[in-house]
């Protein structure tokens, strides 16, 4: 069967009324939570994971995919109407979008963001569908050492390649790897670092860690900042429809943003921020009147928003085909798969084609739903921005603990939530990135397993890791990605890297 047949088969799964309903609930919840200030896509997905616990795998994963895409759309609304720096993937959108909103052009800014996200999501999801079978074939020639090389590369790009400091990124990553050692060793079944506490034998739940660090850590941090810096919400004045001029200025940035965002998301390059940043600087260079940038240029919203959504779909390529999460959001999505005992990877395409292709088809449908939800109904979401902060954070904390209570109502699990929340708070105060901890926790055991398998095959000969050309190239790339930014920073050219700092996602 060709990809096209598989996709049609997937569409027939996705068009089932119940599945459509799940997708609809997913996109509504995703948009509603994603639009709340301070909540990025990673936290949206982590907070809403418990909603899907009671459903069957297909319905649950499809609802989950809707939540993921919805969270991305919702985030852009927030950054246009409420200048919220700190939420990395939409920082660039806020640059121009918030300026447009202040000039009373919030409607067209929201429209170009929504339509751009739609175009990018559509193209990138189709690209995912057509690319996935080839990557699956490639994955079959990957042995343990190639997987290990790929994971080392992912570790480096997530932690050390971008951001302000190699030291802090690496520290975060190794804290995650240390937490990953807790629990039963997957190869020998021996208990490690459990200190006699039986609940620790299962290891640390990725969702507990992610919710604690993102939700609790963020709430504690915002609370510790007191009442200073009240945010101003820009009202949506005038029509949300774009003029002919807006359209002609937007469509090329949409396509260029998609072309930049998708490959970056698909490579283990750590999140959507990089694509948005590249797209922004490209639009600035290509614009007919670059002096408008910084004062509300529509190209500066259209391009980065498209890049943002395209790389969200791109992230699904390594996740679905190789089982490799390359961002915090993807790590939580992987946890969502694992709650049903499903391991994404080449095998899943063979054992559960209905599920995988149904999921991909649902993404296309969710994307169409989101366009409808976000253009005419945008006023409704804007109302959510006006929730006073005490109620907002009280609700966030209640839902954050609800997830843990629903999955495992034990005091030990809740205490872990509290401890990691405190840790996340401390890391935010001292400027340590959080995403590497989450990625380290979920990828750590996988990398360890592949390394030990590779060494077992080679009877303990470490040079085996560089004897395969693919593995050698991957490890070399990882070394370059680690050392090059350090040299750039040491020579005072690190500003570019700091601007693409991966904070979340």
């Amino acid at each position: 069967m060709t990809t096209f047949d598989f996709l049609l088969q997937g569409l027939s799964v996705a068009l089932d009324p119940m599945i459509l309903l799940y997708a609809l609930i997913g996109v509504i919840l995703g948009t509603a939570v994603g639009v709340l200030p301070g909540i990025g896509p990673a936290l949206t997905v982590a907070l809403l994971l418990p909603v899907t616990y009671g459903l069957d795998p297909a319905g649950s994963l499809i609802m989950f995919a809707g939540i993921y895409y919805g969270g991305m759309y919702g985030g852009s609304t927030t950054s246009i109407l409420l200048n919220t720096p700190g939420e990395s993937a939409s920082i660039v959108t806020a640059l121009e979008g918030n300026k447009m909103a202040r000039k009373g052009r919030g409607g067209p800014a929201l429209a170009t963001a929504a339509i751009g996200s739609f175009v990018a999501g559509l193209i990138a999801t189709l690209a995912l569908a057509f690319l996935a079978p080839y990557v699956v074939k490639l994955a079959l020639i990957f042995g343990p050492r190639e997987y290990f090389g790929l994971m080392v590369l992912a570790f480096v790009t997530v932690s050390a390649a971008f951001g302000t400091s190699t030291l802090r990124g690496l520290t975060s990553l190794f804290i995650g790897l240390a937490l990953a050692c807790i629990g039963i060793d997957q190869l020998t079944g021996q208990a490690r670092l459990s200190f006699g506490v039986p609940q620790l034998l299962d290891g640390i739940e990725v969702t507990t860690l992610a919710v604690a660090m993102f939700a609790l850590g963020e709430a504690l941090f915002v609370a510790s900042q007191g009442t200073r810096g009240a945010e101003i919400i820009e009202a949506v004045k005038g029509s949300v429809w774009m003029s002919r001029d807006d359209w002609s200025r937007s469509w090329k940035p949409w396509l260029r943003g998609t072309a930049i965002g998708f490959p970056i998301g698909a490579m283990p390059a750590g999140g959507a921020e990089i694509g948005t940043f590249l797209s922004y600087s490209m639009e600035k260079r290509l614009a007919k009147n670059p002096e408008e940038f910084g004062h509300g240029a529509i190209e500066g919203v259209a391009g980065p928003e498209a890049a943002n959504n395209a790389s969200a779909a791109g992230t699904l390529v390594p996740l679905l085909t190789l089982g490799l999460p390359t961002s915090a959001t993807a790590a939580i999505l992987l946890a969502g798969f694992q709650q049903f005992g499903l391991q994404p990877g080449p095998l899943l395409f063979v054992t559960a084609p209905q599920l995988v292709w149904g999921l991909i088809a649902s993404l296309l449908i969710a994307n169409c739903m989101l366009l409808v939800l976000n253009l005419p109904l945008v006023g409704l979401w804007v109302k959510l921005l006006t929730i006073p902060r005490p109620w907002l954070y009280a609700g966030i904390l209640l839902f954050a603990t609800l997830g843990t209570i629903g999955a495992n109502p034990s005091p030990v699990e809740l205490t872990m939530l509290l401890v990691f929340g405190l840790m996340g708070f401390g890391m935010r105060v001292y400027g340590y990135p959080i995403a590497p901890v989450v990625v380290g926790l979920i990828l750590g055991p996988m990398a360890e397993q592949q390394l030990r398998r590779a060494l077992a095959i080679a009877q303990g000969d470490w040079t085996t890791l560089v004897q395969s050309p693919i593995a050698a190239v991957l490890l070399l790339l990882a070394a370059v990605a680690l050392l090059l930014p350090m040299i750039l920073r040491a020579t005072g050219r690190g500003k570019v890297l700091a601007q693409v700092a991966a904070d979340e996602d």
Binding site: A178, A223, R389, T401, I405, Y430, G431
Partner: protein
Amino acid sequence: MTGMPGTGRRPDGAAFIIAVLLGSLGALLVREGGLFPDRAGYAGVGPGGMPFLVGWVLMGLALWTAVDALRGTSEAREPIQIGPVLWILGGLALQIALLKPAGFMVASGLLFACTAFAFGRRNLLVTVPIGLVFALGVYGVFDAVLQLNLPGGPLETLMFGG
């Protein structure tokens, strides 16, 4: 990312504490990794290998942090208010303590009120009832509609069944 402007070039006390914490965590991992009997099979790396490696790297990072702190390259930080943080932590501790004996509604409702207090809604006579009603509603939706098994207290059991 906290995004603080200004760079104060002075030795940084907090960074030393972070370095000590990282170093202790690393030492703990190295010690635990060393506890496993040295039967690593064909791979030459047994279950103790990973904690051992991560532990040593953490100790290295601790050293790097300490050196950085001595050179005073870390940035100045905005002061933080500890009161609201303690209120939220207290709410979480209260929830852990009350979840089993009093049920989801009471435990989570009080967490809600404590968090609202931390963010400036100080009137507990208003926030506690709102929190309780909100938590009860959440319980109803998740327990009855979404089939999530939440620990119920007397009132939840009465309203939605056990």
